[in-house]
């Protein structure tokens, strides 16, 4: 077309007679023909180049979208996140009116389904259904609603690449989850063997004492009325208590590990709980001075009484082990920021090296050589488990003149403070 116009214009303006389309000379006719051919060829080439450019642009767009979708999908570990990213990208790339994505998965418990935009079911059947398939089988499908037809084969091709990228990402997420589960199992296996080796030693020590004491008493080696007899009996009594504590700790630890330790929350007074523990431990703590330093007006906290009793018990008995005799162990509590209460159990024991501070709450972790101090190595990790189950945080710190355990507890229960007390009147 351009060549024809140029040909006519050239004829009209530049070939004599001017301003007519008539050609007189044979030479002019030749010039005109050559001109026409050249113009036609050039316009053909330009046209081709332009459509080539358009195709290249389209391909670039396609490549960019594929690149974006695969980068977006690559880092994801969660199957739902994968499906949502896939759906959002497909909505954009194919200018969809609506998309439904259903994942059947390999087990019923990881099947799910959603639509974009969410809500209202479609009024008509989807225009396209694309399976999400990998070499291992069908994982689900995408149902697409779009008014303009999916004409170009390029779009068709891209749709399938999208689907297969999505399917692979889903599978990767599942494999990742399976791997995590396997690792958790392996770790809990390792934990169990560590537990067994620690526990069999810990269990046998008190049993050995009891057996030795009782058999010597029965065998008549010990005079009926003697200090030795009293000592042996006291040892049996102490060691049975020790065994009982050990079994209790093991049970608690396994509850924490399996997530079965659910606090039975009630509104409680920290001072009442701490007081109860102190009264119970007074006998064991004769060598130390126990002090409660809790403000009268400290609000009620929503905690499990028995579990908190255990936390205080474990922290105090830990302090008793490490702090020198005749020093003070202090329980204090005060309001802290973000609707929390901050509780501190401090003692005048030696500082703990900085690198141990975080790790003392680990199972079986000991700062000093294992044989110096008796215990299960579980007390502090049980504390951590309980405090965290309550939504709090626990940590240890060195003070200028001692050592302290700190923990926080939320003051709100499901976002609310304790209810007000009913009005009371005088008795008489």
């Amino acid at each position: 077309m351009a060549a024809l116009c140029a040909f006519l214009a050239f004829n009209y303006f530049f070939i004599e007679p001017y301003f007519t389309f008539i050609v007189h000379h044979t030479g002019d006719l030749l010039v005109l023909t050559v001109f026409f051919v050249v113009a036609a060829v050039i316009s053909q080439l330009v046209g081709q180049a332009r459509s080539g450019l358009a195709a290249a642009n389209a391909r670039e767009r396609e490549a960019t979208q594929l690149y974006e979708v695969s980068t977006a999908l690559s880092g994801l570990q969660d199957d739902r996140a994968v499906a949502h990213i896939l759906a959002e990208r497909a909505m954009q790339a194919f200018r969809l009116e609506r998309l439904e994505l259903s994942v059947t998965g390999r087990a019923p418990d990881n099947a799910f389904e959603f639509s974009l935009p969410a809500g209202r079911p479609a009024s008509r059947k989807p225009e396209r259904i694309v399976p999400l398939q990998t070499a291992r089988g069908l994982l689900g499908e995408m149902r697409l609603w779009r008014l303009e037809p999916m004409a170009q084969p390029a779009e068709e091709r891209m749709l399938h690449i999208f689907a297969s990228q999505g399917a692979m990402a889903l599978e990767r997420a599942w494999l990742g989850q399976a791997d995590t589960r396997a690792r958790v199992l392996e770790e809990s296996d390792q934990l169990k063997s560590a537990l067994l080796s620690s526990v069999s030693h810990e269990l046998r020590t008190p049993l050995a004492t009891i057996k030795a004491a009782v058999s010597s008493l029965r065998g008549g080696q010990v005079p009926w009325k003697s200090a030795a007899r009293e000592d042996l009996l006291a040892a049996v009594d102490d060691e049975t208590d020790h065994l009982n504590r050990l079994v209790g700790n093991l049970l608690d630890m396994s509850r924490i590990e399996s997530g079965a330790l659910k606090p039975q929350r009630q509104w409680n007074l920290i001072s009442e709980i701490a007081g109860g523990v102190l009264a119970r431990m007074r006998q064991a703590a004769q060598s130390h001075r126990l002090v409660i330093d809790i403000a009268e007006d400290l609000p009620l906290v929503p905690v499990d009484y028995v579990q908190m009793e255990q936390v205080f018990g474990n922290l105090i008995s830990n302090s008793l082990k490490y702090a020198p005799p005749h020093t003070t162990i202090r329980i204090s509590a005060r309001n802290a920021e973000d609707s929390n209460v901050l509780v501190q159990v401090s003692n005048q024991g030696p500082p703990v090296p900085k690198e141990h501070l975080d790790r003392i709450f680990d199972k079986f972790y000991r700062v000093t050589a294992a044989d110096r101090v008796t215990g299960t190595g579980l007390g502090l990790s049980i504390c951590k488990g309980i405090i965290e189950a309550h939504g709090g945080r626990i940590w240890a710190e060195n003070l200028t003149d001692g050592f302290a355990f700190n923990f926080t507890l939320p003051l709100l229960w499901e976002g609310a403070p304790p209810p007000d007390l009913p009005v009371d009147s005088d008795s008489s």
Binding site: S271, G276, P419, P422, S427
Partner: protein, 231 residues
């Protein structure tokens, strides 16, 4: 106290039965034993004991059910023994009519103390209900609503008095949160443990020498409270 009080022990573990029979007989109690629930109920009916020591885990029936069936016809004290340290079990046993509970393993002194308290409580329940309760330095005059500590009158609010009166009228017995709240504040308030916490603190401050380690108003962790007369 009856010098030859009769104790029925219902437990399925022969080692525990053997130990308890030996120790309690040594302490001049008359001891009968049963290792099943049905057997225990039959024995209790045939030869009524003064006190029952009952294990919660029995082969033929639940210990809670034994409690409930005993309570159908008798008010003899029941002390529950259990290896379960779950608070729910303790509360369930107390709700079914048990007076007290002990967690295995327990020291024998602890068991004997509980037995003595329960027997005294039973003896008192058989007589006329006391209107004036004495506990250490405390004198609680129920009809006159007057409380004295070491001879001096202590001012209590109406609710404080109601709470103290309910606890003191059941000395030695573990009263669950639920039962105290229902009794003092009413059915509708039975879940408001926070009332109880605050009022117990107030009572302890007014009545105990050391409110932080009380002698009379004792907390039963996760279960309830108990009023103890003995120092």
């Amino acid at each position: 106290m009856n010098p030859v009080a009769h104790i029925l022990v219902i437990d399925d573990e022969p080692q525990i039965l053997r130990a308890l029979r030996t120790i309690l007989t040594e302490k001049k109690f008359r001891v009968t034993i049963a290792n099943r629930g049905e057997e225990g109920l039959a024995q209790a009916a045939a030869d009524p004991p003064d006190i029952v020591i009952l294990d919660l885990g029995l082969p033929d029936m639940d210990g809670f059910e034994v409690c409930a069936r005993l309570r159908e016809w008798t008010q003899i004290p029941i002390i529950v023994l259990s290896v379960r340290d779950s608070e729910r079990d303790k509360v369930a046993a107390l709700d079914k009519g048990a007076d007290d509970y002990l967690i295995k393993p327990f020291g024998i002194e602890e068991l004997l103390a509980r037995v003595r308290v329960a027997l005294r409580h039973a003896a008192r329940a058989q007589g006329r209900p006391e209107s004036v309760i004495k506990a250490g330095k405390l004198v609680i005059d129920l009809p006159r609503h007057v409380v004295q500590r070491a001879g001096a009158e202590v001012k209590l609010t109406a609710t404080e008095f109601k709470l103290l009166a309910y606890l003191a009228a059941n000395p030695g017995r573990v009263l669950t949160h639920q039962s105290i709240l229902t009794h003092v504040w009413g059915e509708a308030e039975a879940d408001h443990i926070e009332y109880l916490r605050v009022y117990m603190r107030q009572l302890r401050k007014k009545l105990e020498d050391d409110p932080e380690s009380p002698h009379h108003l004792l907390t039963e962790a996760g279960v309830g409270y108990r009023f103890l007369i003995d120092d």
